[in-house]
């Protein structure tokens, strides 16, 4: 029998969000004194999407990789009283949650890397919180997506929500992704709570149109790196190109063969894009900190 224990530490952290206590799941690995890299999962999923990165020895030598589950997701509980209303993620609420977690974890100007809704959110952070972060990596970052299917089917009593959510996103995974990782990625969606994916899409498709904020992003204060998989039709390469065009100084790479969940669907392929990007992001952050010290 072979036993392997991953170098990951997980904790629960209590933080006040919007006047209510939240029990938040946080996991991390890597060099405790290294560059903090805070990871934001996609809509309707959780930190397990970063299982490849949080076990990547090469990254962990220099970085401290941290990921947390948003409230209602993974092992983070919904707040007391959640049963009284519908869950809906907003741009303001999402940004304040991430900034509260940066504060609670005492992260000094972390590189924030988010995917999909997280890839959108990091653009808000770059525009509004450049002084508290050390750069952003947007995975599958787009400025806005108009609805293209009826999201009511994601949460109704006569449809299995887990199968509906996973069924909707299944085509977003690159066709050559390893089966094990494709189906683990879909499993996360199958495990989401009722209405959570749909509630996240409120940010993605309704409340979180970031296009007007992109002019406020200054890459000399907050470097921006964009990585997008070519098989993603939710946040397509064209969507990311529009973001890159609106942010002078940003860097953009389209990833061959990958889809909407690069870190989860095929980490071995994704890391070939991520490692050089992370190296560049760490270097850019060092320059920022150096300038701040002068």
């Amino acid at each position: 029998m072979s036993i392997r224990i991953e170098p990951v530490t997980a904790r629960y952290l209590h933080v006040d969000l919007d006047g209510r206590d939240h029990r938040m799941f946080v996991e991390e690995a890597g060099n405790p004194g290294g560059v903090p890299v805070l990871c934001l999962h996609t809509a309707g999923a959780d930190t397990r999407q970063f299982r490849g990165l949080i076990n990547d020895d090469e990254v962990l030598r220099t970085c401290r990789v941290i990921a947390f589950d948003l409230p209602y997701h993974g092992k983070s509980s919904p707040p007391a009283g959640w049963q009284e209303g519908a869950y809906r993620l907003t741009a303001a609420g999402y940004a304040s949650t991430v900034m509260a977690m940066i504060g609670a974890l005492e992260l000094h100007r972390p590189i924030v890397m988010g995917c999909s809704i997280g890839g959108r959110l990091v653009l808000y952070l770059a525009a509004d919180h450049a002084d508290r972060i050390g750069g952003v990596i947007g995975l599958q970052s787009g400025g806005h997506v108009d609805p293209y299917y009826d999201t009511d089917y994601l949460n109704r009593p006569d449809v299995h929500g887990g199968l509906a959510c996973a069924g909707v996103v299944s085509g977003l995974i690159g066709p050559d992704s390893p089966d094990q990782d494709r189906w683990e990625t879909l499993w996360h969606y199958m495990q989401g709570g009722p209405g959570v994916f749909k509630g996240d899409l409120h940010f993605y498709k309704v409340d979180g149109d970031v296009r007007d904020r992109l002019a406020a992003v200054d890459t000399s204060r907050c470097p921006v790196f964009l990585l997008t998989g070519e098989y993603d039709y939710s946040c397509s390469p064209d969507d990311t190109r529009q973001v890159a065009d609106a942010i002078p100084g940003s860097s953009m790479t389209i990833m061959t063969g990958l889809g909407h969940f690069p870190m989860s669907e095929d980490y071995a392929s994704f890391r070939e894009y991520l490692r050089p990007t992370l190296t560049a992001a760490v270097k850019a952050r060092e320059q920022l900190l150096e300038e701040a010290r002068r």
Binding site: Y148, Y153, D158, V159, H160, L163, G171, Y231, S236
Partner: protein, 124 residues
């Protein structure tokens, strides 16, 4: 102009294996597949395709829900390795090249089944 023979291609839907049929065991529906001027009505009973009719030869075609796209879109969707944007029904939806109409409940509540079923013509 593509030379898609819709009825011939859709015949591949009869090749659902036991696992796929089991996945669709609650599906009872008539699905209209429209490809430009061509259209087929696919009858599904308990996950098994029991009949495929040329809708243009029916005097009063009846169906539960319809998937409508151009011949060219279906031809690209059914290539053995479709290009990005042509590889999933929802990719066609996002590009506004597919319309899904009618009582979509059977479709939306059995997405894995219908996505796998409609991908079968790729291996013809």
């Amino acid at each position: 102009m593509s030379e898609l023979d819709l009825i011939e291609r859709v015949n591949a839907l009869r090749k659902a294996d036991d696992r796929l049929v089991a996945q669709g065991r609650l599906v009872r529906a008539k699905m209209l597949i429209e490809a430009g001027d061509q259209a087929a009505v696919v009858t599904i009973v308990d996950g098994t395709v029991t009949a495929i009719a040329n809708a243009n030869e029916l005097v009063m075609p009846a169906w539960t829900f319809a998937l409508r796209a151009s011949e060219e879109e279906w031809a690209q969707f059914w290539e053995p390795a479709p290009r990005p944007g042509h590889h999933d029904l929802f990719a066609l939806l996002r590009r506004k090249q597919l319309r899904i109409e009618g009582d979509i409940h059977p479709f939306m509540s059995n997405l894995f089944y219908f996505k796998a079923l409609l991908a079968l013509p790729r291996v013809v």
